[in-house]
């Protein structure tokens, strides 16, 4: 019996080692692809430039494919160097500090939006679970909600937030409206995967709960919700990136200052005087997105490892 105990312990140890190895392998692959990406960018640019130098009229570059001049494709060295340059004349605060501050602002919106979206999405999933009719009747509207362009509803939400929420016990600020916009994008994958997850409970387990004369609520809490956890994490990964995108687009179309959206808008309007600033900021936004997904993956790993379960891959 102790041997079996030891075997189980050995299995767990083996799984832990395997997980660490997986993480290392993944990081190496990620780094390798980053190098390949940079080399492709630089290589394409070099080829394009050399053709330009010889003044040949290659039909692809500049027509079908992007031009390779420094305005369209600033050299990677310029983009990297730009992080250390101050973007404003009257201050020597480097760009990376601006990006970091804006990222934090946007992350706050996205995090709150993610939380709202998660709660709302899960609530919808639980309601949809109650009957096939509700599920069939409501789902098309959920899908429709996602086809409305965000740029159209963002100003509405920002204006509504600043004019109609005076009754709240705290001051409603614009970044909270942006959080709502982010929530608008995040609730959908959570609701859709949530219903799938809640329905994924093993039929035998459902009958078991029936034989215990368990109430609907007990079945939900003890069986269906725990069974949906792997599905929910798959949705959270999509929702995390959607929250960042929603926050950035919400800032831009809602005219909200302080985040990455405004920074991107500013640098885009002054693109000709410094293209690498925009590139650097976009890279900053991408890093933020990766960070957000990374947080979800870490949480997933902790929760599922405790349950000795495999995650559902995206």
């Amino acid at each position: 019996m102790t041997t079996q105990d030891e075997t189980a312990r050995a299995i767990r140890r083996h799984e832990r080692v395997a997980a660490t190895r997986r993480t290392i392998r993944r990081s190496v692959i990620f780094a390798a692809f980053l190098v390949i990406l940079a080399m492709t960018y630089t290589g394409y640019k070099a080829v394009g430039q050399s053709i330009d130098d010889q003044q040949t009229n290659w039909p692809l570059v500049g027509a079908l494919l992007p031009r390779t001049d420094d305005l369209t494709m600033p050299p990677i060295s310029d983009i990297v160097a730009e992080f250390g340059q101050p973007p404003q004349r009257n201050s020597n605060k480097p760009l990376v500090a601006f990006i970091a501050e804006a990222s934090l602002f946007t992350l706050r919106e996205a995090a709150l939006g993610f939380f709202f979206g998660m709660v709302f999405g899960l609530s919808i999933a639980v309601v949809l679970l109650r009957s096939v009719w509700i599920e069939k009747g409501v789902t098309p509207y959920l899908v429709a909600s996602q086809t409305i362009p965000l740029v159209a509803i963002a100003p509405i939400i920002v204006i509504w937030g600043s004019t109609s929420l005076g009754w709240l016990p705290f001051e409603w600020t614009n970044w909270m409206s942006v959080a709502l916009i982010a929530a608008y994008l995040t609730f959908f994958p959570v609701a859709m995967n949530g219903i799938k997850g809640l329905q994924s409970a093993d039929p035998a387990s459902m009958e078991l709960m029936r034989s215990y004369a368990a109430t609907r609520r007990q079945t939900l809490i003890k069986l269906q919700l725990p069974a949906s956890v792997p599905y929910l994490f798959a949705a959270f990964k999509i929702a995390a990136t959607a929250a960042i995108v929603g926050a950035i687009v919400g800032e831009i179309s809602g005219g909200v200052k302080g985040g990455l959206g405004r920074l991107i808008l500013d640098f885009a309007s002054r693109y000709t005087t410094g293209p690498s600033r925009l590139y650097a900021t976009v890279i900053g936004a991408a890093v933020l997105g990766i960070l957000a997904v990374g947080l979800v993956v870490a949480a997933e790993y902790v929760v599922l490892a405790r349950r000795r379960e495999e995650p559902i891959s995206l």
Binding site: M1, D202, R210, Y212, R307
Partner: protein, 262 residues
């Protein structure tokens, strides 16, 4: 009712039709009468499609008869279910993978409002009964198939239901584990005195375990024969005893006759 032994289960005139009136209508059971004594061990056996699982599910109120009635402990099957008279075990153990073994056994107790200390005590007792005391803190996937089935049985018995309904609980196990589990189950049955209704498609399993084997025939499902068996206290040698073989043959003949006439 004036008999010394009360009926734990009384099925009378039960017919079960799935999708009635539709093109895919199936007559699963026709005119079933069955009475099961309290404390007895009864097996339902037959080829697939004979309705043995459906009959078990009717007794357990997981589905309802089209005609006829099912009484359990002098109540309707649904009342018995709400009174938590049933402990169930299926071919898949149905353990919740996010709960430890102890937590799995405690699940029905938790739903029924037992206190934490009562639950803990009872779970320990049950683990002891199925000889898995060392595995309380493990998760289901760390256990073998046979061990998981033992946990499922422990969970089914934890809240002291009067009836144990089992649907091919050992169907997915290898032959050696299976025979071992049969001995364990009989041991538990003798200790607890529960009424057991056991669905299987293994003839030796039905004969070894049961006091009564109900042989069923398919399309439409009905009871073909009702064979009584008394092997006494079963030992390892019982499986090699002439009486055992005699009964195995009897059940096999009952099943073959049905095939021939179908």
């Amino acid at each position: 009712m004036s008999d010394a032994k009360q009926s734990a289960v009384a099925v009378s005139g039960v017919t079960k039709v799935f999708n009635p009136g539709k093109p895919n209508e199936v007559h699963a059971l026709t005119d079933i009468d069955l009475s099961i004594d309290e404390g007895s061990f009864v097996s339902l056996i037959g080829p697939s499609g004979c309705g043995k699982s459906t009959l078990l599910r009717l007794i357990g109120a997981l589905t309802h008869p089209t005609h006829g009635s099912v009484w359990v402990n002098d109540k309707s099957a649904d009342e018995a279910r709400l009174d938590r008279d049933y402990g169930m075990a299926f071919q898949t153990s149905g353990l919740f993978k996010w709960r430890t073994i102890t937590e799995n056994i405690e699940l029905p107790l938790q739903l029924m409002g037992w206190s934490k200390s009562e639950r803990k005590e009872r779970a320990a007792e049950m683990l002891d009964l199925v000889k898995l005391s060392e595995f309380g803190d493990h998760y289901p996937r760390e256990l073998s198939g046979g061990m998981r089935q033992r946990v499922a049985i422990a969970r089914a018995l934890s809240f002291r239901p009067s009836l144990l309904l089992m649907d091919e609980p050992f169907g997915a196990l290898d032959e050696m584990t299976r025979e071992h589990m049969q001995t364990e189950l009989l041991d538990i049955w003798e200790k607890t005195g529960k009424t057991v209704v056991f669905v299987t498609h293994s003839i030796p399993e039905a004969v070894f375990l049961s006091q009564r084997v109900i042989v069923m025939s398919p399309r439409p499902g009905r009871i073909a024969s009702d064979i009584s068996i008394d092997l006494g206290h079963r030992l390892f040698e019982t499986r090699e005893a002439p009486l055992f073989f005699e009964k195995v043959t009897e059940v096999r003949e009952a099943l073959r006759f049905e095939e021939g006439s179908a």
